[in-house]
């Protein structure tokens, strides 16, 4: 590791620690303060934090890697990730915030007035968090392996990366709570965006032409490294050799729709992203925040796609350089997720690699932070304060939440250490993005149907919600397990649907909620819950008080 690498990581760690300590000094041991940053997060800060939360290793390393590996079909990951916020804006953001709850399970439990709904939602949320954490930890290991290349205390570089990121993020969350995590996530997203803008500017300054790069990348058939040798990629639509700029390098028609549906539906059920909406000042602010997210995330993904394209062309052109030869086979990267890191070094030398690596760590740290906080909120608030010990003080819930965050992060690290990414790459060309898709599938199948129907259908009952959540979760987990057992590199047909099962599991979950609710003689939504969720009294009052405060200051 060079001095630049050390300096970039040290600066990153120092800033994150400082922010967390400052946040800790401003955080009281109350549920609203620790889990929701006092519900006073501004719109742009929250939009930045949501992007920081959402743009994980899958987005930063995974999207460029998927574009590098599969061209046009890889871009659909970016499209799906960005598209997921459209349904959130249309159907979820404002009512979710207006109900005034603390976590996604809390929202569902209050809406359906049911402890059973809370339990089902907590189990689903913890499953989603765990399956989302593992690819982040894998990304940490891969980045450390490439940047540092050395282990600590006898550990391999891959394992060292996982351990370091786990300890660092665990500390940030436990110390800083939601306020520290919010500030860190917003800052880290700003850093990520600055890095992709900087890399794009370097490309253009060097005479890079995007259209010409697509033409150059599409001139030869796509190839991938499998077991240390190059193999041609087959077009799933035509059966011929796949090309960078043409559809079919990764997915057939069913596979592509399955991926899209999974990513679009999954976002509205991601606990760490939805939890950020509870920190907004009002429901209107939550909705407006999502508009900002669409703009910021869209800009980021458009540039990430450009950088993946540039990597495809530049890596092949300079593969004879010794350091790059180690990472490639005949000009093609062994691990596509290295594309952005390699591009950083190609464009700006070792400092470029250091900056991109620090950004990759920032992406992972901010997402892991959000995930751990969501785990903490669902355990501390939903399990301890609402189910296990309703008489417990807020301080007990916060302490339990901190403990849950540590346990979940260790569990994810253990699973990630047992994963061998180079073996998985043979099966899934863009391993981090693929693994994150599984978390989206779980969220979209188990939680999103209950959230959507709970918000918009008054007759949805608690029994319906419980049945729908369990049905969606069981089908999604079952499909993923079966898909992993039977399907090498699923591109289309049944295998592709099994590994992105929201397309079948979410409709079945929704139908289950509708049928069981129709058959159920129990109560539907309480009028005051509906009024609070869809009314704007709280928003108007907060806005008027803010106006008066502003006038008073003048």
């Amino acid at each position: 590791m060079s001095g630049t690498d050390t300096a970039s990581l040290a600066v990153f760690a120092l800033v994150a620690t400082l922010v967390s300590v400052v946040a800790w000094r401003h955080t009281r041991a109350t549920t609203v303060d620790f889990f929701l940053a006092g519900r006073r997060t501004g719109m742009i800060t929250n939009a930045g934090a949501i992007c920081g939360d959402y743009l994980s290793a899958a987005s930063f390393l995974g999207v460029a890697g998927a574009v590098y590996a599969s061209g046009l079909d890889g871009i659909w990951y970016a499209t799906g990730f960005a598209a997921g916020f459209v349904p959130v804006l249309l159907f979820v953001a404002a009512p979710l915030r207006r109900l005034g709850t603390v976590s996604l399970p809390d929202f569902l439990a209050v809406r359906f007035d049911s402890a059973q709904v809370r339990v089902a939602a907590v189990v689903s949320v913890e499953l989603v968090i765990l399956s989302y954490l593992v690819p982040q930890a894998v990304g940490s290991g891969l980045t450390w392996e490439l940047l540092v290349g050395q282990g600590i205390a006898g550990l391999s570089p891959y394992v060292t990366g996982i351990v370091v990121s786990t300890v660092a993020v665990g500390g940030i969350v436990v110390i800083g709570g939601m306020r520290g995590t919010t500030w860190n996530q917003a800052l880290q997203f700003g850093f990520l965006l600055a890095v992709v803008v900087w890399l794009s500017a370097l490309l253009w300054a060097g005479g890079f032409s995007y259209p010409a790069a697509v033409e150059q990348a599409s001139a030869e058939p796509l190839q991938a490294v499998v077991s240390d040798r190059l193999v041609g990629v087959t077009n799933q639509l035509s059966g011929e050799s796949a090309r960078f700029g043409a559809p079919g390098a990764r997915y057939g028609p069913i596979g592509q729709v399955a991926l899209l549906v999974t990513l679009v539906l999954g976002t509205a059920g991601l606990p760490h992203v939805m939890n950020r909406y509870f920190t907004a000042v009002t429901g209107r602010a939550a909705r407006a925040t999502t508009v900002w997210v669409l703009g910021l995330a869209g800009s980021f993904y458009a540039l990430a796609v450009l950088l993946g394209t540039a990597a495809r062309v530049m890596v092949a052109g300079r593969a004879e350089e010794p350091w790059l030869a180690e990472l490639t086979v005949d000009g093609v990267l062994r691990v596509p997720e290295h594309a952005l890191l390699v591009l950083g070094r190609l464009l700006a030398g070792t400092p470029g690699l250091a900056v991109v690596s620090a950004a990759a760590f920032a992406a992972m740290v901010s997402t892991i932070g959000g995930l751990l906080l969501a785990a903490a909120a669902s355990f501390g608030h939903d399990v301890v304060a609402r189910i296990w010990r309703p008489s417990a003080s807020p301080r007990v819930a916060v302490v339990a939440g901190r403990g849950a965050g540590i346990v979940v992060s260790v569990l994810a690290a253990v699973v990630a250490i047992s994963v061998e990414p180079e073996r998985l790459v043979a099966t899934f060309p863009s391993v981090i993005a693929t693994m994150v898709t599984w978390a989206f599938a779980l969220a979209g199948s188990a939680l999103t149907p209950a959230v959507l129907l709970g918000i918009w259908w008054r007759d949805a009952t608690a029994r319906g919600a419980v049945a729908g959540i369990w049905t969606g979760a069981i089908i999604a987990v079952g499909a993923l397990v079966v898909g992993l057992v039977i399907g090498p590199d699923p591109s289309d047909g049944l295998s592709a649907v099994l590994l992105a099962p929201a397309m079948i599991a979410a409709p079945i979950s929704a139908v289950t909620i509708v049928v069981v609710s129709r058959l159920d003689t129990g109560p539907s939504v309480r009028p005051r819950v509906w009024t609070r969720m869809h009314g704007t009294a709280a928003d108007r009052q907060t806005e008027r008080m803010a106006q008066i405060t502003l006038r008073g200051r003048r």
Binding site: L72, I75, W76, T79, A82, A83, F85, V86, P87, L89, L90, F91, A94, G100, S209, Y210, P211, A212, A213, V214, E215, Q216, S218, A219, G245, A246, P247, P253, Q256, V257, L260, V264, R284, R287, A288, T290, V291, L294, G295, G298, S299, Y301, A302, V305, W456, P527, R528, W530, T531, R532, H534, G535, T536, A537, A538, R540, Q541, R544, M545, I548
Partner: protein, 114 residues
């Protein structure tokens, strides 16, 4: 009729109210709007792969350099579309809320929100 009063204990004259029946009507309108925009969103996003399967020009022709219409739309155009759709939907939703809520003077049972 349920009714929500905001901010018990807040400064006098600042309390805001939503009548349950006006909220039900507003929610119904918001649902219709959201479903309409949702339909546009689904059609737009599904049209890209459908055009790839049905229209050779969509993937075979070149607009600029090596970029086909499909590539241009997927790599950049859709993000602009998502943002435009989001801005339009958020603006309309807000104006519906302003028009339909906060006008009731109904005095039925009410309880403070959290």
């Amino acid at each position: 009729m349920a009714r929500v009063e905001m901010g018990r204990g807040s400064p006098r004259g600042l309390e805001q109210f939503d009548g349950h029946s006006e909220v039900v009507a507003a929610a119904r309108t918001q649902r219709r709007i959201a479903l309409g925009y949702g339909l546009v969103f689904v059609l737009a996003i599904l049209s890209v792969p459908m055009l790839s399967l049905s229209l050779p020009w969509w993937t075979g022709s070149r607009l600029v350099g090596g970029m086909s219409p499909s590539f241009v739309v997927v790599a950049g155009g859709l993000y602009v579309f998502f943002l435009a759709l989001g801005v339009a939907a958020a603006t309309l939703a807000r104006s519906v809320e302003d028009r339909m809520l906060g006008t009731s003077e109904d005095d039925a049972d009410h309880e403070p929100t959290r």
